[in-house]
Symmetry: C2
Subunit: 222 residues, 2 copies
């Protein structure tokens, strides 16, 4: 494999540690384990629209799926306030522990770094700013500008155009197998970040690299 020139990072869960969102559910009287169910439901519904070729803002889908997820809970606040409290948590997440060292190491290797999120550019930029890493990232791209979510081919094609690179010169980096699969189908290289040690699903296209962290990724690409 030829070394890519641009790394395209997924943002939610790949760079951000989403575990504090569970506490936000508990803050409003709901069980913390609903956070994972909510995020899976958000992607499920977003992907259903992607099948139809429709792209809607991540935060809009997130808020409505959240309302449904909280519907049967005995909340300690109004439903509107609970949704607002949890959704605002997205803007206050921090990066995973391996991200600062990993990002700096990848820059030292000479790679260009961009993000491509199904969420907003502002959330991604804020995340990297809080970690003091924003200067290492060339662009904060969102599928909002592509009109279609990942894993549709058009979302990756948008990022390639913005970065002015061919697919084989770009590598998508994500913790989500559906994202590495979509990137592979669009002709990009892909790296799966597997912090938890789970197996990669056999029904998705295998990533070019499987790494345990961004530090590991930098070592593999050095």
């Amino acid at each position: 494999m030829r070394r890519p020139t641009v790394l395209i990072f997924d943002v939610n869960e790949t760079l951000s540690d989403m575990s504090p969102l569970a506490q936000r559910f508990e803050d409003v009287g709901a069980p913390g384990h609903l956070a994972a169910l909510w995020f899976a439901g958000l992607l499920r519904d977003g992907f259903a629209l992607t099948v139809a070729g429709v792209g809607r803002p991540f935060a809009d889908i997130g808020a409505e799926v959240l309302r449904a997820a909280l519907h049967d809970e005995r909340l300690t606040s109004s439903l509107d306030a609970a949704v607002e409290h949890i959704m605002s948590g997205f803007s206050q997440l921090d990066v995973h522990a391996d991200v600062p060292e990993g990002i700096r190491a990848l820059r030292r290797v000479g790679l260009r770094l961009v993000t491509l999120s199904n969420g907003s550019s502002a959330v991604a930029e804020g995340l990297l700013q809080r970690a003091g890493l924003q200067d290492h990232v060339e662009r904060f791209l969102s599928v909002d500008a592509a009109g279609i979510w990942k894993p549709a081919p058009g979302s990756y094609a948008y990022a390639l155009r913005e970065c002015r690179v061919t697919p084989v010169d770009a590598m998508l980096v994500a913790v989500h197998p559906w994202d590495t699969d979509g990137a592979a189908r669009a002709g990009l290289r892909s790296a799966w970040v597997n912090r938890g040690g789970a197996d990669y699903p056999g029904y998705f296209r295998s990533p070019d690299l499987k790494v345990a962290s961004l530090v590991d990724l930098a070592e593999r690409l050095a």
Copy 2:
């Protein structure tokens, strides 16, 4: 709205009560709330493949998502045995309480009834057999024969061809808004079964009917 001639029923959760699957998770030492997360993740990954135009067997996706969902749990059996125990629960589910009376009432109205599942035909047929309702259902269709999952247009088109009806003469009946949305985009009528009282998401196309049960649906179509 002209009355449809054929009702096309979704199966999982629409006809079947999936709540006993939570007990199956507890049987193997995992929390019961993982059942909902697992099912949402199954659909998330299945829809990601649907975006790519790929249809894989529901049980294959289900088993692999289940392995990932159980990865961090302290199981009381081997992972293989736990996956087998939970997956086999699909074949032993029963219909929701409103289904027998609703199905019989819909037949009395003179409607043709078929099922269309992202899962297998055998699971759907077994479910209706256990309820003594199989003779009221003309066909047990699966997207396996269409090569693509709902909510892709091709899945609904397959059912229309098999039933020899035009889209406006068919109504998709489901508890899942992503399914009624997909059917509406494919030109079918749609009915959303809302047993829990949640709101219908604003980002999906509105169903032609919102009903509280299949009995309610029969009354609305009488």
